[in-house]
Symmetry: C2
Subunit: 641 residues, 2 copies
């Protein structure tokens, strides 16, 4: 059946063309073309993020768009999700500030650089090297007529003698066991993968000693970014690392996981989202194996952490319960799976391990993160805050059982919902200094011309504008502040941080009043989550001795700036630690040590989740925190320096 | 590529034609046509069993056949394995006495009839109903905002509360758990299959209460016959039963397992033999499910017993070690496998359980059989003898650890290696009376005209001929015995048991001197195995209080006849029990009860195997037993009646 004639849509600056069936939107076209268009609401016409500029050709736009969103559209801009092409061809452009950063994603080595504490390069003392998959070299006695127990039984007994109880064996192991044992005179290497707390699956037997060729992948499956580390399971060393944007994000399935779940349901596309993330991990794994010159067959375990929704997408399991009262996920904790069962290509022996989460809102990124910073062993009461689209907060110590909560912080600190916000990638401003005269100096990731501002830069900008007096305590631009950089007024007001002439964005990089409002809402949500949780537990902010801040929002946060704007409570700066990607750090520990796996499991099953949405105090705290640094200024007795 | 022109071979009486490539033998043709031709040596030209009559067309026969075998070929007969067609077409016929009985195979209900003790219809008290696969009906609390643990966690906890520890879950269970739980308001049925001694795999969740629809298959994988029972795992009842010849046998891969291993090695045909037995079981299972109106998805476990070689073929695992010094099989005991991994079609959730054996010579047919007759709980010292191509002997009691041995009895009592021998199928003579005048009366299975003689009939014939005086104590026909039924002399001598006019074989049914020699060798091997084992353990025959005889060699053995020819030691007949197919009985118990599984495992790991071939006493005993009833007649002080 020949399809009916269609329109061709070409995207600039990529230059990619796709043809479109009648009834499909420009967002569908972008999805098909693999071109990133921001789509925070998943294509509902509600977020106004999918702005796209029509350069040539005719389009048809739905009229039902809200005036507030319509007002924010620039000259020639339309909402891609509500717009269809009309003629034979359309040429469209993604606005500069809506493009996806093309620079390399900061990860691992980078994100643990400088001010960060590298949690994962070595296992802490409490976790001995005992990976979830192990290769055991066995020098078996060759059988004689007096000792002629079966080949499989001989291997099983030798493993049992070394403390491994085998309760399952993969079929192909037994199939050829006879010739394998005899190839190198009963010297063989058995590969075991763990299943449950005390049992092992025998997944392979190889002739000779191959115990040195044994690798595993630790994966942080982020909503936006997927970061993988290839580890040598024989030595515990990190061999190679890589990261990429989550294709679910690039392919416009929605910016946050709720939007993606809605997209999956509306389009019966769970499988599509599932395959996207599996493909991402497979391709990253393939790259790393090639770079490290490791054979695919020697990758024996893939251990993943991430929020609850991402774990559902990764497995291809119905995530519908995540966004519906009473917020019941399909699973929080699940035994390991064979990689081929969940659609991974390659080594059919390898297993995928998903670390356990606590609830819909608190996934294994948090449980693993808590173990990575040893919150369960903390001598003093400590706070763990993971800042992403959601801010998760965990409080506890070795004596105080861990309690956690989660608040929707919005994606502002990840660079979304802010006009020139971008991920912490090359070309992002990561720090600002703003003088009393309003003049601006900045540092750019990679050292080139700025293209946008990442989370740490945004936080700095707010703090510096506030210190300089350009922003008032109410979070509004101060019209009395005299500088040519400030223009427009009220809602339209914006501050030029990097003029067009000095940047690579093609227009002035500004911070708008709307951006400031978004950022203040985000920091207020985090502060409110922390203070509500503490007050619910009857704890005073003063009792918190250490704060650990994790998240992919920037390279290294300026502690003073964070405190200055009231994001964190007033504490001596040396008690605040930026710990980078703790989800990945925890994944690496779990991959390398069964004891770490068990610790994560213990944390997941013992952690109490407090639902802030049910708590009227949270709203109150949130309103109070919508100031710089806070309405109750006595909570912040001035900058700490 | 067009194949070169070939010869067409047609088989009578089947009327099946196949074309044959150059270089292929008539035995290859029979294999391809699915026509049974006896081939005891697996096509080596050594057994002389693959006789075939050339009716039309030219053939070419290898000249290297031994004269002894050549002498036994009838008019126009050739060895199929050493003969190739020459012209364009050949018409051949399978000699009547070499045809496979087409009547139904006796099994289960039939073989437990009359004199037999039904061991499997009910579980003995020691084994509670606790099948290897269980369906558990769960009435879960629907989640609320206060109790919103994950769907999978909810199921896992409910199962844990009922005593089931889940260490593995099949992927598709989790995939749809959300909708399944909600289909019937959180009332679901979980299917669990056991793996290891204390863990369970969650293989399925269904909405509502389906716990009543739960079935398992018990399979006795015999070298010649495969017998299956379909059991309702919810009630323990046997629902349906079926049997067929093992296709490995029908397709001429060799009559005994050693021949089949050789065939597999010579032709790289392990996979072919593997697929044959999997297909047999699948087809039998399909028949039973249809007959019992059971859905394929409700067959959740297949539990198999059989000799060590058959277990290797069933899994498709290299059996090469079985026939080579130092006699090390690839496995004796192995964790359960997913049915699809080993090539079964259908329900991917079901698992295959293979019961553990002891050694190359003592398979799970024996360990399961020992548990079926509760040898490990016997109050008094007891003997368990399983008579097939190999005779296995186990001695022990609740106080005396089980010891076993195995002796090659030859297939005479299974009807092979005897001119008119046949399986215990319709048309087989199963009992004889022979008067002092040499006149013969007989009983035929199915009541029709006789086509041959089954094991029990052969045993009767020898005993009756001996009693009548037609056979001497030396096992030779007595030329002084006057009857027209005896003809020829010395090696050529034979006794007409059923003249052509009264039978369906198309010629006189006789017992030849060679047949008698074979049968006496068989009974001598069994007797020698028993007596050697006992003497090695320092036990006197008098200390044996009970003897249990198992095997598919006939419907019900005449105890007096067996003792009269010296097959078993002289004991009061009420101490000798014919227990039919104990391998199947044990398989049924194991399928229905984890405790039975464990008992079989315990027996397999604690049983001592004694190698008779290493024992000079065995040869001596064997020689002494090559008489009727025995050289040392004082061991048999006359018939017991
Ligand atoms: S408005 Fe188009 S994706 Fe949200
Ligand atoms: S002689 Fe032909 S099969 Fe044995």
């Amino acid at each position: 059946m020949k399809k009916t004639a269609t329109t061709v849509v070409q995207f600039q600056p990529e230059g990619i063309s796709v043809s479109l069936e009648a009834g499909e939107s420009l967002l569908d076209a972008a999805r098909r073309a693999g071109v990133y268009v921001a789509s925070f609401c998943g294509g509902q016409g509600a977020c106004g993020r999918c702005r796209i500029k029509v350069l040539e050709g005719e389009v048809e736009t739905e009229s039902s768009i809200s005036p507030t969103i319509k007002d924010k559209l620039g000259e020639g801009e339309v909402l891609a999700c509500r717009t269809s092409p009309k003629g034979k061809s359309v040429l469209v452009e993604i606005p500069v500030d809506a493009r996806l950063g093309e620079g390399k994603i900061l990860f691992d080595e980078d994100s643990f650089a400088d001010g960060h504490e590298d949690l994962a390069s070595n296992l802490p003392e409490r976790f001995p090297l005992s990976p979830v998959s192990q290769k055991i070299y066995l020098q078996l006695d060759p059988p004689t007529i007096e000792n002629n127990i079966a080949d499989y039984g001989r291997v099983e007994k030798a493993l049992y003698d070394k403390g491994f109880r085998i309760f399952s064996v993969q079929y192909d192991v037994v199939q050829n066991i006879r010739s394998i044992l005899r190839e190198q005179d009963f010297k063989v290497t058995a590969t075991l993968t763990r299943s449950g707390r005390s049992g092992w699956v025998l997944t392979r037997i190889e002739p000779g000693d191959t115990s040195g060729s044994h690798y595993g992948l630790a994966v942080d499956v982020g909503t936006t970014t997927i970061v993988v580390n290839l580890l040598n399971l024989a030595t515990g060393a990190t061999v190679a690392a890589a990261a990429r944007y989550n294709s679910q994000f690039v392919l416009n399935f929605g910016e946050d996981y709720i939007a993606r779940i809605m997209y999956a349901e509306a389009n019966d596309a769970l499988d599509e989202l599932h395959k996207a993330v599996v493909k991402d991990i497979s391709e990253l794994a393939g790259d790393l194996l090639e770079r490290a010159d490791v054979a695919e067959k020697d990758l024996n375990a893939i251990l993943c952490t991430g929020n609850t929704a991402m774990m559902h997408f990764l497995l291809g399991v119905d995530p519908g319960g995540i966004r519906r009262d009473p917020y019941v996920p399909s699973f929080n904790s699940i035994p390991s799976q064979r990689i081929r069962d969940i659609g991974f290509p390659g080594n059919t022996h390898a297993r995928v391990y998903l670390m356990p989460g606590v609830s819909v809102y608190v996934g294994s990124d948090i449980t693993s993160g808590a173990i990575a910073i040893a919150l369960d062993r903390a001598e003093e009461l400590s706070l763990f805050v993971d800042i992403g689209t959601n801010g998760e907060v965990v409080v506890g110590s070795k004596d105080v059982p861990l309690v956690c909560c989660s608040a929707s912080a919005g994606p502002a600190f990840e660079g979304s919902g802010v006009k020139f916000g971008m991920r912490a990638a090359e070309g992002a401003v990561e720090s600002f200094k703003i003088g009393k005269d309003g003049e601006v100096s900045c540092e750019v990731i990679g050292g080139g011309k700025p293209r946008g501002i990442c989370g740490t830069g945004l936080l700095d900008a707010i703090a510096e504008l506030f210190r300089a007096g350009a922003l008032g305590a109410n979070g509004k631009f101060n019209q009395d502040f005299k500088t040519p950089r400030m223009r427009g007024c009220d809602f339209e007001c914006e501050y030029v941080l990097v003029p067009k002439s000095e940047n690579a964005a093609g227009e002035d990089i500004t911070l708008t009043q709307a951006d400031v409002d978004n950022l203040i809402r985000s920091k207020a949500a985090i502060y409110a989550a922390v203070s509500t949780l503490l007050s619910q537990l009857g704890l005073d902010i003063g009792s918190i001795k250490q704060i650990y801040i994790a998240g992919g929002f920037g390279n290294f946060l300026n502690v003073e700036s964070a405190i200055a704007i009231g994001m964190f409570p007033m504490l001596p700066p040396d008690r605040i630690h930026f710990v980078g990607n703790t989800s990945l750090a925890g994944a690496k520990m779990a991959l390398l040590s069964n004891e770490a796996c068990d610790a994560i499991r213990d944390v997941a099953s013992s952690m109490t989740y407090v639902d802030l949405m049910q708590n009227p105090r949270f709203m109150e705290e949130f309103m109070l925190a919508n100031y710089l640094p806070h309405t109750e200024i006595e909570r912040f007795k001035g900058p700490t320096r």
